[in-house]
Subunit: 230 residues, 2 copies
DNA sequence: ATGGCAAATGACCGCCAGTCATTTAATTGA
DNA sequence: TCAATTAAATGACTGGCGGTCATTTGCCAT
């Protein structure tokens, strides 16, 4: 009875092939400019076949960007599994996110185009469900060393783990979008290494949330923050 | 020779009417779902006429969102014209941005949909030029009290005004996007006032960038930061 | 061989951004 | 007052794209 299973495998492989083809096209053209005919051609399939595997262009778009979420998840997992002190592991998460931003820029970009109405209104509920679950997994990862640091009394207790996670994440993300978009004006006017600025900004915020003992112990270990003589 | 000028005025009025109609439709449907026919009907004009005034749907979209930029500009102008100490005026900017986010949410949202490839690839260069100039005006406004605070030795000197402006703006913006999108997971899992969190995050960051004297003087005046006993 | 079944196809549909030949309205000059 | 001229507005039309579905293709069991 191996035939059914082989069929299953082949179907999964098709799915992946389609995602890969879609990835190529979406990376090059973005959601709005990409066409299903183009993706079909890249996948060496007919357009009709695509719709056997994915309900809509937007579904396919999400499917591609979920690959990015997996990559980010793995990077985060590695970042907190070092056995280092909790504050260091939190800083590692910032660096991991930066690596993701740097080396997997197109996935990063796709993830924020997802916010558009076009995507949210077209995408099927089941796929949306997967996104939510995925997002939860990643947040849990981020909160892990934060919880530890709180228990160790290294972060201000009036903040919840989720609050801290949200603040740190938003701060990075906000600056990353700015960098990615490279606002024409900023590009010209600002002779500044924006990535270094991002590191600094992260360090500032994390430091501000640390208790005094933690600051004495760990401030010097935060990346690109050595010049800060406080 | 008043006829030519009257014609001019009428044409400008038409332009505004069209923007207003487009605004209604874009607010309701977003860029992708809105149709030019719908906008034409709202404006009580034919579709062809719209194209006499705006080159593309995306141009029209930008034209609408520039109204938002003007509003933000005015709010910022008011925020820094109070004659208060520089640090307070910087904090005012944060509050002004929050007011913009709160009371003019749809403009805020439109401004970040602008980042999509769909908009950038379709919009005409002259309109893009206006956007850049607009952006410059707003950044200048933000940097004004920051420059003063630096001169007064209230902010760490190793940071440039632009760097500080970018950090503060990005931090607010990142969290605002998160709030606006209301990530399904966060909404459920986080029993937290995200707006209060945004204020806190802003205060943390600003405080971290202040020199010690400034901290002694001004920390207590920052919004929603009173509970912070440091 | 042959019937059955899932996978794949591509012609086709409806919708929409954008165009353009034509119509309508306002202004001018005689 | 009435052509003539010019500017503004129109809406039928086109091309392209997302999505569908009746038909075909190819694989397997009998």
């Amino acid at each position: 009875m191996g035939i059914k299973e082989r069929r299953e495998r082949e179907k999964d492989a098709r799915r992946e092939e389609i995602i890969s083809a879609a990835e190529t096209v979406f990376f090059k053209k973005g959601l709005a400019e990409a066409t299903m005919d183009e993706i079909a051609e890249a996948a060496e399939l007919s357009k009709g076949t695509l719709y056997l595997y994915y309900k809509s262009k937007e579904d396919l778009y999400i499917a591609v960007s979920l690959r990015g979420a997996d990559i980010l998840h793995d990077l985060f997992e590695k970042a907190i599994a070092t056995g280092e002190p909790s504050i260091k592991r939190i800083a590692n998460l910032g660096e991991a996110y930066l690596e993701y931003f740097d080396k997997h820029r197109m996935y990063f970009r796709m993830q924020y185009f997802q916010e558009s109405t076009q995507v949210h209104s077209q995408v099927s509920p089941e796929i949306l469900q997967i996104c939510t679950e995925n997002s939860r997994r990643i947040w849990d990862l981020v909160m892990d060393p934060i919880k530890t640091a709180l228990e160790e009394g290294l972060l201000h207790r009036e903040l919840s783990p989720m609050e801290i996670a949200v603040m740190l994440w938003s701060n990075s993300n906000g600056l990353m979008r700015l960098i990615d978009r490279q606002d024409e004006y900023l590009k010209g006017a600002l002779g500044v290494d924006l990535v270094a600025l991002l590191r600094k900004s992260n360090a500032f915020l994390l430091e501000a949330m640390m208790t005094e003992e933690a600051q004495k112990q760990y401030t010097s270990t935060l990346p690109h923050h050595e010049s800060e003589a406080k």
